[in-house]
Symmetry: C2
Subunit: 354 residues, 2 copies
Amino acid sequence: MSPRRRPTLRDIALSLDLSVNTVSRALADKDAVSPETRERVKGEAERLGYVPNTMARSLVLRNAMTLGLVITNPSNPFFARLISAIEERGRERGYSLMLVVTEDSAENERRAAEELMRWGVDGVLAIPVQHGAEHWRRLRKSGTPVVLLNRHLPELDADVVGVDYYAGARAATEHVLDSGARELYLVEEDLDISPVSERIRGFQETLAARGIGAPDGAVVRVDAPEGVPVSAPFDPGAAYAIGADLARRAGRGAVVLAGNDYHALGLYRAFTERGLRVGVDIGVVGHGDHPFSAYLDPALTTVRLPAPDVGRAGVDRLLERVRSGAVDTEPIHTLLAPELVVRASAGPLRRGER
Amino acid sequence: MSPRRRPTLRDIALSLDLSVNTVSRALADKDAVSPETRERVKGEAERLGYVPNTMARSLVLRNAMTLGLVITNPSNPFFARLISAIEERGRERGYSLMLVVTEDSAENERRAAEELMRWGVDGVLAIPVQHGAEHWRRLRKSGTPVVLLNRHLPELDADVVGVDYYAGARAATEHVLDSGARELYLVEEDLDISPVSERIRGFQETLAARGIGAPDGAVVRVDAPEGVPVSAPFDPGAAYAIGADLARRAGRGAVVLAGNDYHALGLYRAFTERGLRVGVDIGVVGHGDHPFSAYLDPALTTVRLPAPDVGRAGVDRLLERVRSGAVDTEPIHTLLAPELVVRASAGPLRRGER
DNA sequence: TGTGTCGCAGATCACGTTAACGTTCATGTC
DNA sequence: GACATGAACGTTAACGTGATCTGCGACACA
């Protein structure tokens, strides 16, 4: 069977001896069409297997009914859930989703913005890389609203929908302090992004507020995976690597907070291999509540992130911008509250005698 | 600043007193344009911030330069990596990606096919749900090639690019038998899809080939998450739930093969809670080599899936169909080889006295 | 000088759709 | 019978491109 041309309104019109316009109106259920004609048109459309051409429609209506999603890495479980939530919410609202993956490369992101601009998407949701916002500005100047997801961008005054990582870090830190621990460490990815800096701030301010001094080098940076093959998933390896050092420095009863659960997992192994029992000799708290975390041994105390809420709120905010056409009014920041999930990995610990 | 209309070819033409056509040719680097004119045009385009309109171009060129990806659940780590690889490969080839998430719902999938048809995408990659292929057939009949990913669909004669799960299950089973175990179980999701049936076949045929009888109910089905909230990630819970029963039935030295690493993780906990030491008293083998698996305690012996290769091969096959226009010729099945990763969870086990 | 050729540009049309505006014709009203 | 009304449809233009054809001047060559 030859892949023949798709039938168009014109084909229906020709076959019924009507004008293209009448056919269009009939199918769109607009008035100025008699019931009989409407039926005939719909029947013929069905018979011919007519499918409307969205691009042609978008061209004349000047709206693409499409949202762009620029994401760094779908293998981050939080981002994966974000994708699902965004796609679903958009679909409910009648929007298709164009996805671009940047792998945290500024150059890729620049090209992504350019491409979405060419498509004339109605709006863009982006988990931005840290540097460069000129492309986002250009996008907005052309009338396309941009909503930042999960990460704040100092150089760009745009709406942000994300998680209150500061609160998450505070809650985790306070919980650990309340359990009696006094020697705390924070392991974070070496990325200059707001979630990391906010968690660090939450950690440090909580300690300061309690008048507790952090040990030297309490905040440990883990190399961000660099030059990794594309689509490489998150990896506990980097945190594992620094776990050895941490195991040496930390006294009994110390607790290590990790910027994400994968890091926590790397620490588990590093500590276990050195004979430290997680949750007994040394505490670990994660961040993210990844699907595996509840099933680790010991079950990981961590901070649950409201991924579906962030996704939905992001879409809603974006569509509100699309609707109002107000691209450049005062940006709104929406930070959704995470929730501390207390399990077993943070204690009760044996207090330090060493 | 008002979100003013995007400049078009016409604006450049007007401003330079040229025809739209000449401007188009100049920007497209075609001949029949003098070098000076070309420079003037490009300069003006730059100055006005001109961005070509992909939809208009696609309309006249009758190709969308877009691929559709229909996926069940991005939270499956294997699928997440697939998304990355597909997006990247497509982008390298100049194609954008339209993503639709089905959450394994046949109705969603039907609508996804319809929507992609309306967009007139050049080709579709799909991880199909088990039932109903009429919408894929319609898509192909309209000239849009469809390549199935990871799952085979008996009712549809389409290209398939996936993983040789049969071989994966064979390799895992043989490894376990070679280690001396004789009591084997297989835990699989209760989904009627080819990866599951192929793994079951590989498991059973390997046992049969070695003349080893499988215990009653050796193949255990785990409830597929149903009615779960959208964007729910994979969950070890279901496997954990049946782990209790398995722990009772299985003798010392038995080994449980799991259909994916999340199931393996659920089993870890179920066994551990009952005092069984994984890798010592009872073996566990996973499938998927999820990023957390190497760091479990004990490290999970599992089957590594070549996600990036599947993604790239899928795009390549699809684009070959697009190029040749041969939508209905003999379908090609490409099964990529997985790789057994031997770690600690499958033994050496204590042999069964019980 | 005529003729062919080449470089460069404009004119025209097409892609498939929707919107604004016209036209036709039956019906109703006074 | 003159005129307004309104339903049902057609005509035309437009969205922003790209392809094809045509036109025109300059130049080389016989």
